[in-house]
């Protein structure tokens, strides 16, 4: 019989297995390599010194004392924000949730800052 050109005949069970494994490998590699920027931990500084370091796996609230009063940092899985601050202009509060490694919220009047750390931040260093 002349070969019908049915492509399905050429696809043996093992071929399908290897095909699926190949696709899975690509998807896995994509998730692993392109996840860049996902934060691992939050670093809270008060008056220039590290006040607390918290991993972003569970929710918690941290009250940080400063010259004007307490700044409240709220941490949820994968993100963090300044929930409340006694500063006059509320810039750090209005920044909202920080979700990327390297993101910073600074409450200058109360000398508190919140930084997300992780591999693959958007910049090398920051000075202020």
């Amino acid at each position: 019989m002349r070969p019908s050109g049915a492509w399905r005949e050429s696809l043996l069970p093992g071929d399908c297995l290897i095909l699926v494994a190949g696709v899975a490998l690509c998807v896995f590699a994509g998730f692993d390599l392109w996840r860049g920027g996902a934060p691992d931990a939050a670093v809270v500084r008060a008056g220039g010194r590290i006040f607390a370091e918290a991993d972003l796996s569970r929710a918690r609230r941290i009250a940080v004392p400063g010259p004007l009063g307490a700044t409240v940092i709220e941490i949820e899985p994968g993100r963090a924000r300044v929930a409340a601050d006694p500063g006059p202009r509320q810039y750090c509060v209005r920044q909202g949730w920080l979700t990327r490694a390297g993101a910073v919220a600074i409450c200058a009047p109360n000398e508190v800052s919140l930084t997300l750390t992780g591999r693959g931040g958007d910049f090398d260093s920051l000075s202020y």
């Binding site: 043996l12 093992g14 071929d15 095909l19």
Partner: protein
Amino acid sequence: MTRSVIELVPTAEDRRIARHAAAAIALTVAEAAIPLPLPGVKPGLANIVTLTVLARWGWRDAAWVSLLRVFAASLLLGQFLAPGFFLSLAGALASLLALAGAARLPRRWFGPVSHSILAAFAHIGAQLALARLWLVPHDGVFYLAPLMGGAAVLFGLVNGLAAAALLRELAFRGENA
């Protein structure tokens, strides 16, 4: 003075390898005319020939065809000893190693498509490793890995199916010759 004549007599095997290598070289040169979006991602149509030779004549012939193709095609395209040539050579050597293993898989379950996809992954693996070590000494090259892996699956599948179709056609002709 007696003249000494050195005569090289090509064996049937030499002719067979040369014929297949010529087909592979023609496919590589034709493929070079196709514009491609990403450097390093190309169909690798010449591998259809390598896969067919592997299935019909064994790994040794496939290695000859593949390596002759890498050298001759790079000479034709003016790429000999350029970075692209070394990437090509690294990919071909890794593919041949993968094929040496893949050819031992049971034929009932694993056909040319398996060989093709495994060889394609070995190819991009070696290319990325060489690129990382030599051309782009930065982990940034690995950001391309998922894309190149996707291309390996796609073109591996297409080339494998083409090789399988070619093998069926050749088997049919052999029966009816």
